[in-house]
Each structure stands twice: as structure tokens, then as C-alpha cells.
Subunit: 254 residues, 2 copies
Amino acid sequence: MMLSIVLVGTGNLAENLLRALFKTKQVKLVQLVGRNPSALKKFEHKVPVTSNYSEILDADVYLLAVSDHAIKSVSKSLGEVKGIIAHTSGATSLNAISARKKGVFYPLQTFTKRRILDFQQIPICLEASDDGSYDVLRKLAESISSKVFHVTSEKRKKLHVAAVFANNFSNHLFHISEMICKEEGLSFELLKPLILETVQKLEILTPQEAQTGPARRNDLESIKEHAALLKDEEHLRIYKLLSKAITKLYEEKL
Amino acid sequence: MMLSIVLVGTGNLAENLLRALFKTKQVKLVQLVGRNPSALKKFEHKVPVTSNYSEILDADVYLLAVSDHAIKSVSKSLGEVKGIIAHTSGATSLNAISARKKGVFYPLQTFTKRRILDFQQIPICLEASDDGSYDVLRKLAESISSKVFHVTSEKRKKLHVAAVFANNFSNHLFHISEMICKEEGLSFELLKPLILETVQKLEILTPQEAQTGPARRNDLESIKEHAALLKDEEHLRIYKLLSKAITKLYEEKL
């Protein structure tokens, strides 16, 4: 039996989900719901759209690709639907949804405007209020991704923190490195092959094995010279804290 | 005229340089020099090797792929050679080499055992004591890389600091994210597509544009919840410092 889906949201994740759902023949996207009529316009030639919660169609799954703080109110607006209501947030509990049949459908990825990713490679973390709902969500997830996992609310929140370190924080370090280049009139392009290799190495090594540099070698002279070059106090604080953390990790191993 | 090269060193960078030099027909690697005879053994069927500084052959360039602290002593051991002596360090001054004709040949990349990278994509930062030496080093660099730049000692040191942020520090954040996963019995594999996309995004966006997450949104509630989940004090300190830095960056933009 083909699953029917109503998708709520028009942001980067919603657009990526919509494109992935169009590609699979195992599910049918029956409606796209959004607050903003102009955001919906972009999709109305592909799928029925509405901004009106009294016009919501019946579906097996209502997938909420909305911001964390909107999950509660959107799930209330949907009212007494027959299908499963599932949110897509890493940081929000299953219980933020008031419906009886509910779930979490969390794609562990960072979504950006105008970037359509291959959903097959995106891990989807699932949770549900009951076995029947779980099976439906799993069928939906497996129709668009080859990486589907059961992850409880508690574990998912920790995973979300890990994702903040892996994505938000590393991205901020890339920002700092770009700023340091700019101060010297150097192009950030110079660092891009290094950044790419930092990540590609992780195919064969753990981050701990892959580490190099002055802090790993406990090369205090280089660390001191670097610190003297950093004019921005915040950059300096981050340099010191991370160098200390790395030095400590490899000292402990001796 | 074909350039002749003597390469000193047997580590990861030396091996990568050796493979790149073998591929080009514009230069000839005439000798590999290393302290450790057993490390040289691996290469002796490909190139003449020696551990003895009295046996060093004549060459246009002596390329030192040795650790930073060994540059001074190795360049002294080479004595009065006719060619240019160049080191490959990001953090070391040109003047660490005592020879008259000297240079810096710094490939901005992280090199790992058993990983042979495509040198064409690796930026090489050059500096030399005189124009003639610079031209020779540029010819050498351009024979193996399409990305050759003139970078002074001062700028190169700043670039090296930027590289520490971009590579060593981001890698340590990946390590922390792996540790957080492990605490929950979750596989680090779950985060790899996210980490890869973090970097791939930078093809079209600056890190500042690419940023997402609670700190960028100044979502204090999520930040507080995350902080409560972090049991390791050092992880917590890093979480707080980087969240603050990100929040500040986007506040400033308002």
C-alpha cells in the first residue's frame, strides 16, 4: 500500500524532503502546508498547497518540517487527524506533539537554501509512540534513505549536541581561519584543500588518530609563537582552550 | 633544463613529495636522504638513498621534509652545497636555514601515513632569499602543483595559525562529537554525512553564511538544554566559549 504524506513547512529541510519524496514511488505527497502563501507558490505546480488548516487532507503521515518552537502549535492546529504526526527536530521531545499517534523523523544533516542533497545518504533517526506508527515511519524513511535508525528522544538530544560540535562549531573555526587569512590579505581558498582533507581522512582514521599539529606534539614553543600572533582576544581564548584539550588528550594516552 | 632534487626526510610529507616528483618529467629526484636506514629501505628500489651526509649528491634544490626542530641542524649538515636549500615548514622562518641560497617550499596540507594525495590540488607557498632561487623553486613547485603562491615568512606564520584552526581544532571537535556519540552507544558514522556537508557547503557559501544552529539563532533555551547534557567539564567549556563566539558574531551583524 502506498503511503500518503502531508508535508508542513517551506524551509530548506521541507524543500529537500519534498524533492526526495517526489523521487520515490512508494509514497505519495498529497499536500504541502505552509503559513506563507508566497513561499508555497514555488511548489504549487508540483503539489496541492494550502495555508489553511481547515483544508488539510487525510494522510498516513503528517511530516512537520517547521522550526522547533512551532512544533507544538502546528501539531495542535492539525487537530484530530487519523494519521501519524511526526516532527523532524533533533532537539525536541516526541511529547511536544499532542496527538495520540506521533513520531520523530529526524534527518541528521544541515540544510541550506538552494542546496538539494542526496537523501539516500542522510541518516534518519526515528522514534514513535507505538509499534504500528514506527513501522509506517520506517517505511517512509526507507523509501528516501538507506540509513534509517531507531533513536530514542534522550539519545537523539545527545546526538544533536554532537552535531553542534561537528557542524556549527567546526564551521565557526573555519570562519576564524578565514578571518586570519583576510587580516593578511590571503585568500581562504588556500585553506580549502586542507579543510577537505581534514574530513576525508576520517574515512580511514578516527579523529584521534588523524590529529597532527603543535598541540598534539605538545610543542609549547610553537603554541607560544602562535598565541603571540593572535590579536583577537576571543581567537586567543579559543586557541588556548582547544590546544590545552588536545595536549591533555595525548598526554593521557602516554 | 631539468631540475635535479635531493629530498631529505622519510615521513608522510617526504613520501608524498617523492611520489609527486616521480610523476613529473620536469624534475629528477637524484637522491633521498634520511637518518633511519630502515625507513630508507622502502624507497631504495626507486631512488638512490643515503644516511651519510658526506655522500650527498649535487642538486639544484635540497628539499628538507623534516620536522621543524631538525631544519637548522639538517641544513648545517648539508654544508656548502651549490644548490638551494629549502624547508617545507609552515611555522619556521626562512632564516632557520644558514645557506646563502635558501627558500621555503610549504605545502599547505595535512599528510597522513599511507595516504598519497593529489599534489596538483595542494597549495604550495614559496619564499626565497633571492629572485634566482625563487624562480627555481617556482619551477619545481609548478611541476607538481597547479596552486603556487608567493607568501612571506610573516604571512606564512599567520597562515599556519589559520591552518591549526581549520584542521587541528576542527578535528578535535570531531573527536568530541565522536565521544558524545560513544557515550550513548551511537556510531560516529551517523555524523559523517553531516561533517562532509559542513565542508562541501563552503564551495558556495562563506562559513559565516553557512552557519546554522542554536547559537546562530541565539536560542538560549536550546543552549541551556545542551549544556545540561554535557557531563565532561572540558566539553562544556568548549561548548560555552564557541556558542558565545557564534552568538556574538551574529549579534554584531544586526
